[in-house]
Assembly symmetry: C2
Homo-oligomer: 227 residues x 2
Amino acid sequence: MHRTRVTVVEDALDANNTIAAANRADFDREGVRVVNFMSAPGAGKTTLLERVVRDLPGVRVGVLEGDVQGSMDADRLASLHVPVTQLNTDPSFGGECHLDANMVRSAIPALPLADIDLLVIENVGNLVCPAEFRVGEDVRVMVCSVTEGEDKPLKYPLMFRTCELVLINKIDLLPHLDYDLERLMYNIDQVHPDVERMTVSARTGEGVEAWRDWLTAVATREPAGVA
Amino acid sequence: MHRTRVTVVEDALDANNTIAAANRADFDREGVRVVNFMSAPGAGKTTLLERVVRDLPGVRVGVLEGDVQGSMDADRLASLHVPVTQLNTDPSFGGECHLDANMVRSAIPALPLADIDLLVIENVGNLVCPAEFRVGEDVRVMVCSVTEGEDKPLKYPLMFRTCELVLINKIDLLPHLDYDLERLMYNIDQVHPDVERMTVSARTGEGVEAWRDWLTAVATREPAGVA
């Protein structure tokens, strides 16, 4: 008699990964590369997007905005004539502190996938749970502001460990802070020595060109296939 | 026949509230007032504690440090000869993004309640979930750094709504930021018009005396009883 063995999926994260893979397959089919863009609250994600989304050469960008409440960031980006879809996580009491694959799946019918090459998913501002939930992205990028102190890689290691690029933002404030950039780099080395890093200032524009080039290169990547 | 009716508790937050009330009863019995101290990552909670814990007049302070991983903040405070207990939330994959009542309950046997008057619970750096979980505190205080932008009350309303005091930190950086303090105050008014606010700089010490006095007053409050 023929027998097969199926291992039962173990927990909520397995279910999330199943849905993330389905999202990824949909994005791949449409030829859209996807960035999961994460940071603590107020690190500068939206401003760093405002700086580049209008002029990625040959790349049509769309944004999916994740927030507990409101649409302030979506409004800012929409004013730049970039297609923006808002996803709020607050049906429950205080709202969800992260996007998960199923939330992103619910937004897919509203996304103009045929008209974009790159989708940036701006996650909820939080350094813990967003790192645990894949949403169907090709790459993960995080913003780490120098105003947050040098210890964050050691306190939130999963976030730093699962990103492909760390944008170190607000470097225009370095002269006014007791901040040791070398120590930050050392702490990043402790949890993810190979991760790419860029120092930028969304406010002054310093380093933004490298960030624009990096994002442009992501948009023209071949799909890696669902892991 | 005598009949009574028991309504079944509804969800995880109800269970959390039950345990929070038990924690609170234990703290009250020992005459310890408890502050749930919250903020986004890197807003300056630990530095604001370092500034005051040694010299609250007549008040013996203890600290319960909540972190995903590590004990860097606990080490900083212990070096000031303040009793510190570390609580890490990382038995699961990426760690929990908040403290809940049961985690704090598990720490109670390790707390020197007979030797302190005030317990400050430094929560995990996060503006979403910590606001949803009571841990047995008398009061909630949050730190909001001016580097995070003026929009945070609108994006994370529950956190601002459930606090008794908002410490607006890093005001020494105001000359170097495009920041409108009046707009922050206006946004706080939208979600919690009656909340007390203090502008402080943990770095320069500006405003720290008012924060010290406020904390001293909390320590000498009569217990309000468990709600």
